[in-house]
Symmetry: C2
Subunit: 144 residues, 2 copies
DNA sequence: AGTATTCCTACCTTATTAGTAGTATATTAT
DNA sequence: ATAATATACTACTAATAAGGTAGGAATACT
């Protein structure tokens, strides 16, 4: 049940944008450098966040990325969903036709509860909440 | 954040044993057949559960597997941990030396909360609880 | 025009998951 | 004893996904 680097990197990148909301677009290379992520890889992650409607891009010189909405309106679950896909611990939670026993399968219920537990945590936090948590606002202290 | 078949199969196998606790050992091939799992693959999963101390094996003819403890003393988190490894959403939760910023990293706190949420669900259920949940005790209704 | 940036798409490498195969070892029943 | 029935052990293989590279096209600012 490990988190993919995709999600971890993506959350960190989103936080970088959140921290710089007032200061205009942030370039991929800046984020990549600050967070120690491959530029080319991050490029792809940003594209995912963009198509999920969480960030907006500005092309060309002096371009970069900005959040598409205020940081207090972006829940961690939004970022998570975009990058990790829906938190579907098992196939049959998404696709009811996956298995005939769906209606009263005990293990399915368990995994559903696990999934719900994860989502409640992630839905309860916005990017802004996380920014507020950081003690030293200048240097965002996360690198996982 | 998908669950591996390893864990899914393992939980189902453990439930088969729980359901047959009073009736002596259950053979791998029986479980494999009932749960539609490859015999050879399940063999390996049972070995993992065994080395985790959750089941005991009886070799030779009329042998098979039984739970090492009463079903109400085996938490789902035990089975999960054995098969999936500790629910470590990120490396630094296990290994504090993994990253220098550990002490006040915001994202680490988030993943820790997620991890805690998952564990509380799994720790709150025993195999017996799940058996009790099944409506029709004869045919264990799970196949995910 | 020139430079800086995102955009797009294809590729590659490595790790993990899921599964197979074969043989050795232990236990029971005959 | 011997045959039959189980697990135990170890190695191999195939498929998939994760993580990352590469190159150039499109766009926008100066």
């Amino acid at each position: 049940m490990k988190l993919s680097t995709r999600t971890r990197y993506g959350v960190r990148a989103a936080l970088e944008l959140a921290a710089n909301q007032s200061k205009g677009p942030v370039q991929i290379k800046t984020i990549a450098h600050r967070q120690d992520i491959s530029i080319k890889y991050l490029e792809q992650l940003m594209a995912i966040l963009k198509s999920a409607g969480l960030v907006r891009s500005i092309r060309g010189a002096k371009g970069g990325y900005i959040l598409a909405k205020p940081a207090n309106q972006i829940k961690l679950s939004d970022v998570f969903n975009a990058l990790e896909g829906p938190v579907t611990t098992v196939e049959c939670l998404e696709n009811k036709n996956y298995c005939a026993r769906v209606t009263d399968c005990v293990t399915r219920q368990v995994w559903a509860e696990v999934q719900q537990a994860i989502m409640s945590v992630l839905q309860s936090m916005t990017l802004q909440d996380l920014i507020n948590r950081t003690k030293d606002k200048k240097t965002l202290n996360y690198q996982i």
